[in-house]
Amino acid sequence: MFNNLKIEFMKIKRSNIFLVATFFPILAVIQGFSFAKNIKGQEEIDLWGALFSGSTLMYGMLILPIFITIIFAIITRIEHSNNGWKQLLSLPIRREDVYISKLILGCIAVLYNLVVFLIGILISGIILGGKGSIPLDIIVLRPLLAFISSLPIIAIQFYISFKFKNVGVPLGVGAIFTLPTILIANSTKYWIFYPWTYPVLTMMPNFVTSAEQTLRYGIMYGVSILSFISIIGVGLYKFRSKDII
């Protein structure tokens, strides 16, 4: 498995995945920085909160879901193009190892993206001269929790990217489902049924205001993990029986 993972890393070394993973969250941080800079100096402004809020809306709503779409499209496209599956699956390696190593690679890229985002927030806050202690529970914990809440999106995009050779399908599906995110996220009743809202709602500070919402958030994390395991399990089962031709 470790060898497979190493090989998968080598395959994407020249694909600029990590350049994309570094660059995109910086755009969100720049937006948050600009927002916080504009309101800096106003009385009773929580600069760290403003910086984080200004960055997370675009990041959680748009950048992270689309990034997940693109990452898994790139990872699976390597084999889809030039009949790479035939060559790969005729090698003496277990199919489960191939499947899981690609999934792990994608998850590492998503985690890296989140870490760049939170480091960007920290650096921006320091540059802006945010007063008081750094609210690590918001700035560090929430992006990491966003990884868990984005697991359903990861699983769905991974499955679709594997299943369809035409790269337009996962890209189209990812774009379609990202579109109504902000609308559904504003609904206190229906957001729980739409996984694309989970990352932005995880990261927005001060959103949990009642016991009912706390319960819904707990359900959200549970649904995220369970749906991830289910979809990945189904995908693995189908991949094991995939015809090599």
Binding site: L27, A28, S34, I70, G168, V169, G172, I182, L183, Y190
Partner: protein
């Protein structure tokens, strides 16, 4: 002049393709999202707010679709994906060699793809607006539908997206990695609002911003979408044709 035949061929290639997932799925999704939005917020909030601001229900629906849902933001990204799908076959099946050895002029091949992207984009835009009309009828808006407003909304979008269509036709026909144009489209829609707010003059030069100017409730800005769309399409297409003519067949 083989252009009509080439366009017909391009459309035939997509007859059973996944592009219909985009063309039909996206408007269906926006219709459902707008229905949900109106169902939840129209009677208690949006209608009252609209009355205060002097907007009709149809104005509100358009605004919700374009700004709140984000149709105006995402439209360039959808076009990027449509362009990717249309060019996908040529790169994946190595069809460019076969296509460019045929006795057809290269600029006709290039323009046929451009027109195909335009056709599918137009269908998607029209279906989105038709979906809005359907939502309004089902919800039961008290005012009569403003056909002129919705007609203008569709037409303005048609022209505003021409620059993005030309740009992504150029990118997709020149880049072997089909994902790069989509990444650029994604970058465009992220950067566009920031440039619009910080440097409105620079924003007039970026095709990804033109859909932001489509706001029938503030007609003064909409002409930028028209001029920008037409001029950027002409300029980018000319550059694209000149570059495509020199494309190596290998």
């Amino acid at each position: 002049m083989k252009l009509p035949i080439l366009i017909k061929t391009e459309l035939s290639k997509q007859r059973r393709g996944f592009i219909w997932l985009m063309i039909l799925g996206i408007p269906l999704g926006t219709t459902m999202a707008m229905f949900l939005d109106m169902y939840i917020r129209y009677h208690d909030y949006l209608y009252v707010k609209g009355q205060e601001l002097g907007f009709t229900s149809w104005d509100i629906l358009l605004r919700e679709n374009h700004r709140v849902l984000g149709w105006g933001i995402f439209l360039p990204l959808f076009i990027a994906v449509i362009a990717t799908i249309i060019h996908y076959t040529e790169f994946e099946e190595d069809n460019w060699k076969k296509l460019l050895t045929l006795p057809v002029r290269r600029w006709e091949v290039y323009i046929s793809k451009l027109i195909t992207i335009v056709i599918f984009s137009f269908i998607m835009i029209a279906l989105n607006s038709l979906g809005l009309v359907l939502v309004g009828k089902v919800i039961g808006f008290p005012e009569a539908i403003n056909y002129r407003l919705y007609g203008e909304y569709i037409l303005y979008q048609y022209v505003a997206i021409l620059g993005v269509v030309a740009l992504h036709n150029f990118l997709s026909s020149h880049t072997k990695n089909v994902i790069i144009p989509v990444v650029i489209g994604f970058l465009g829609i992220i950067v566009a609002p920031g440039v619009l707010s910080k440097n409105p003059d620079l924003a007039k030069l970026i095709p990804y911003t033109y859909t932001y100017y489509i706001n029938n409730l503030n007609v003064g800005n909409s002409s930028i979408a028209l001029y920008g769309g037409i001029i950027s399409m002409i300029l980018i297409s000319v550059v694209g044709i000149l570059s495509f003519n020199k494309k190596d067949i290998l």
